[in-house]
């Protein structure tokens, strides 16, 4: 993928096979994504290419994500919708 990821494409790629992933990813995209620096935005786009089960294990903290995703996974885990 060249340059910045297409935001519309990202929105669709956040549709996953597991409900919790949908919830985590949509929340992150709605609230946090646009505030992140470009390198983390590209990391997020790469993260979306990963397997659902891997994402689930990383987001639940069951497993440690690879170094390149650590920051963005952490952001996803800590982002909340504003009250």
């Amino acid at each position: 993928m060249d340059g910045q990821p297409n935001p519309s494409r990202l929105r669709w790629l956040c549709r996953r096979g597991m409900l919790e992933l949908d919830a985590w990813l949509a929340r992150f995209l709605d609230v946090r994504y646009s505030q992140l620096p470009a390198d983390q935005q590209t990391a997020f786009a790469r993260l979306l290419d990963q397997d659902d089960m891997a994402l689930f294990d990383w987001f639940t903290g069951e497993q440690e994500p690879p170094a390149e995703f650590r920051v963005v996974v952490d952001e996803i885990r800590t982002t909340r919708y504003p009250r």
């Binding site: 494409r9 929105r11 669709w12 996953r16 597991m18 949908d22 659902d52 089960m53």
Partner: protein, 644 residues
Amino acid sequence: MIPKRTFDAVIIGGGGAGLRAALQLSQANLKVALLSKVFPTRSHTVSAQGGITAALANVSEDNWHWHMYDTVKGSDYLGDQDAIEFMCRNALPAVYELEHMGLPFSRLDNGKIYQRPFGGQSKNYGGEQAIRTCAAADRTGHALLHTLYQRNIAARTQFFDEFFALDLVRDEEGYVLGVVALEIETGEPCLFESRATLLATGGACRIFRHSTNAHINTGDGLGMVLRAGLPLEDMEFWQFHPTGIPEVGSLISEGVRGEGGYLVNKDGEKFMKRYAPNALDLASRDVVARSIAQEIRAGRGCGEHGDYVHLKIEHLGAEKIKARLPGIRELSMQFAGADPITDPIPVTPTAHYMMGGIPSNMHGQVVAPVRTGPEEAVPGLYAVGECACVSVHGANRLGGNSLLDLVVFGRAAGQHMIEYLRENPFPRTLPEEQVDKALARLARWEKSKGSETVAGLRVEMQKIMQDHCGVYRTEALLKEGLELLDKVEARLPDAALSDQSKMFNTARLEALELENLTGHRPGYPGFRPGPHGKPRRPYPGRPSQAGRRPVAAPYPVFQGKRHPGLQAGAAEAADGGDLPAEGEDLLMMNPDRIVSIRVPPFVKPPSGDEGGQGGFFHAPVWQLLSNPPQPPFTKGGRTVRVQS
């Protein structure tokens, strides 16, 4: 004319069902296209953790007759028994076949496939717990998808990932000749022409406000079938899980209650003692779900809108919670904002599985009263998986039977399509006006103007469905719900898209999904009202025919396809006659096969359900064993979230 691609067969859906069917066809050297709106291995099948049921007898004594018995009974005697026999019998070769394909099943010490017990599994026709569900750790669905996907690549199935199917193309004589789809990346429509088309688009639980299903489960195949002028079957049967996190829907497994968690209402009362004095919080799924729904309806729910109850585990102590329920704690903190060490977890019944769907037979052929007969095959159209209603699950699906359904009927459908293609070697003329109709639907969204939003209408619809057609149902409630749904649907033409771009326009896809959901929403038992004030279920495990009276519906609701022995007398049964009593012989299977079975005395009404509440429709029917064993599944001493 839009671009056209021609194949022997088109498969819509890349979950377990679609992949299994595609494999059968590709291995027969047919030219197969598989369309999926998301990358196939991200289909909802990936969520299935529990496993796939087959009477392999690796752990406990077992045979497929017992599996069949449990499934028939689990279906509330409303499943198609020939189809159930076919499924349970073929479960063994189906699982061994997956093993040979390389599915990494967990192993017992002796090297055989690992099996775990699930509720509703019995030995000896209703005897002690059987151990029947084959598992690949807690990710069987994931393993299944990956195995089948790799096999399809090897067999040269042509994948069209991120293609959104819009509408079937059906000619005047009723032949289905392909599908109009949208390439999500470009936003351009295209036509897939094929002599046989299979729908494997998964379930529609996103029609409810609280659901355990991924957001992609919008029942697209159902909408397509209705728009093609065909009926749906058994759409009143939805399985609810009693405890999900409100709004998000994420499951809080019964393992939590197994560990000692209990439910309270807004007054802090442990209300399960009123509904199930013995089993309490460990009562079967349907009992717990209904009890929660009752509390909520009675105004004893928690929170601003009073629409959930609390599941408390603080008393277990921080250490035990951290050690044994870390996953549950994480989900609760993530999605409910509650740390169960100090706060109760908000929970509410959440839609889990759709038993109804596109009427099909055990060859996967879509059947409907198309010409003269009540159950004729629609030429060129097939359906398998959660979107189809074969019906092997009747009024209730047993854990692990869904993955089984996907592979057994996926294979059978593929096999039948091979024959069909052989018998129908020539393409038929494509009716252009059908293609235009699909394109017009797309164009309408492109030009949409108005004050309504897709998201707003979707939320309203989901809320109406949850409140009026959820676990607790009365005729009045259903009627009211339908009126409200009609009003929402009437506003749909005023909905405008927030985004009018072409590429990856998620807003447009969501609008199309909403159309698919609203298209089939009226299939609820309001059309089949039961006798009011009378107990709907004189005792459980009975053919509860009360709910099955055909009553006018705004779209054709399919009534055929039942075992004739049980069909007959349905009307009388509705009035309470014709119901075999305890100890009486109930003709359960085909007379030339397994004969009759005594209605076992252990089938007792779940406590709290005797009172003729007049409106409960069986949502999840785990009442078969009045207290089904729900062993907490543990991994390294921790209770893990294993859902079926």
